[in-house]
């Protein structure tokens, strides 16, 4: 049976060494650039008509734009719209990464199934939001860790919990996306492997893992969208915390 983890293998396509660091152009990097290209092509092709009544592609672009703008407005407030381009980029980048990972290609690759990628994204969000909080509120931002209306006696317990839960955000954010993408893709591969294995023995029951694989494929598409959405929503909520504090 094929190794279900093989799909996560990094392959160096163009070896690059800079100052002792291995910055090789890999299949991961290739798919990141493909994701950038697809996202950009979608937006530009969708807005080419500049139609008053949008066509199909333009509707997709406008829906995506207004969907993310709505997320930012609802979760981070009007002030959050200043950071809309960044959030929109984040959403499109993750969504494209997840969706392109669903393409059944022999050299297919899902860069969001790598913890280092999701963790870097999450750390970027975390550091950016924390810096923003301190820039907007100064030292006053520290009171964010003191829950409102909590009894004084409870503070020694609550403040460390708040600090911990805050610091854990990049981990939960990145691990959620990474785990979902990796677990889903592994499951698909495992069940797809079952089809081949079972088929070589006895053809008819192989329909069972086939059905599971079909169901999982649909499920994975939902997860691919949902995880991009969750990452974006949480980013917006963190933005809200930094801008408004509680």
């Amino acid at each position: 049976m094929a190794d279900p983890l093989h799909q996560f293998q990094i392959q160096r396509l163009v070896p690059i060494q800079i100052g002792g660091l291995d910055l090789s152009f890999t299949n991961s990097a290739l798919w990141m650039l493909i994701a950038v290209g697809c996202a950009y092509w979608l937006l530009i092709a969708g807005t080419r008509q500049h139609a008053l009544v949008p066509g199909r592609l333009q509707s997709v672009v406008e829906l995506a734009y207004e969907f993310v703008a709505g997320l930012v407005r609802d979760n981070a407030g009007k002030e959050g719209l200043r950071y809309f381009p960044l959030v929109f980029t984040l959403f499109l980048f993750i969504l494209m990464g997840n969706m392109l990972g669903m393409l059944p290609l022999p050299f297919g690759f899902t860069f969001t199934s790598h913890i280092i990628v999701t963790f870097t994204l999450a750390m970027g969000v975390f550091i950016g939001v924390t810096v923003l909080g301190f820039v907007l509120h100064g030292a006053h931002f520290l009171t964010f860790f003191v829950p409102h209306g909590a009894p004084k006696a409870m503070l020694p317990l609550l403040v460390p919990i708040e600090v911990l839960s805050y610091c854990v955000r990049p981990i939960s954010l990145s691990v959620r996306l990474f785990c979902n993408m990796m677990a889903g893709h592994t499951m698909m591969k495992v069940f797809a492997g079952f089809i081949v294995t079972l088929f070589s023995y006895w053809a008819v029951p192989a329909i069972a893992p086939l059905a599971v694989t079909v169901a999982l494929t649909g499920f994975e598409f939902a997860v691919a969208f949902l995880q991009a959405y969750i990452f974006t929503v949480l980013t917006c909520i963190y933005l809200h915390d930094a801008i408004h504090m509680h």
């Binding site: 660091l21 910055l23 994701a35 996202a39 980029t89 860069f111 919990i161 691990v175 959620r176």
Partner: protein, 200 residues
């Protein structure tokens, strides 16, 4: 209490992740030698982080400078157009309402005029009727009076006649019964005397 619970619930994915990460090396060990979870191969980290940052900021630049202004422009144009259409609709509506008001006013005026005319006509007819009635009443009253006068005259004449006839009867009776010759004045006085006595 519920806050604490939500906090703990938020920690759940972390615990899951920690477990997963700690399971990684085990998985690597179990496969022995070559394999292992590719995600935990730290030698790929610098290149992945580097290319992630490059591609992410490439996309960010492209979106910020090109794509987002284009989409925003489309949406704004549509918003302006819709706003202009709504404004025009509001203006047309106001015009229509003004026209309706004017129309109502014209109708009300016409109705008032018609009612006035109707009232005038009614009053004129009523006045005519009253005048006719009065004339008729006066005519009837005059004729009644004439008739009464005529009747009274006839009655007086008849009464006069009765007195004359009675006097003649008295003359004749006195001549026949008593052989007395009575003058007409005397007979008339006698009748009058008897009538006034009888009338008592």
């Amino acid at each position: 209490m519920t806050r604490l619970a939500t906090r703990l619930a938020r920690l759940a994915p972390v615990l899951l992740g920690a477990g997963f990460l700690s399971a990684g090396p085990l998985l690597a060990a179990s496969e022995g030698g070559g394999g292992g979870l590719p995600q935990l191969d730290a030698t790929t980290f610098p290149s992945q982080i580097f290319w992630l940052i490059v591609s992410f900021f490439l996309l960010y630049r492209l979106l910020k400078t090109k794509a987002i202004p284009r989409i925003a422009d489309i949406l704004e144009t549509r918003q302006d157009r819709i706003g202009a259409d709504l404004d025009r609709a509001a203006k047309l509506r106001a015009d229509a309402e003004a026209a309706l008001k004017k129309h109502d006013a014209v109708i009300a005026e016409a109705q008032a005029k018609a009612q006035k005319r109707l009232r005038e006509a009614q009053e004129r007819v009523a006045a005519e009727l009253a005048r006719h009635q009065a004339e008729l009443d006066a005519d009837v009253a005059r004729r009644l009076k004439d008739a009464e006068q005529r009747i009274a005259a006839a009655k007086n004449a008849a009464l006069g006649e009765v007195a004359t006839v009675a006097a003649e009867v008295v003359q004749a009776a006195a001549r026949r019964l008593a052989g007395l010759e009575i003058g007409p004045e005397e007979a008339r006085a006698a009748v009058a005397r008897v009538v006034s006595a009888g009338g008592r």
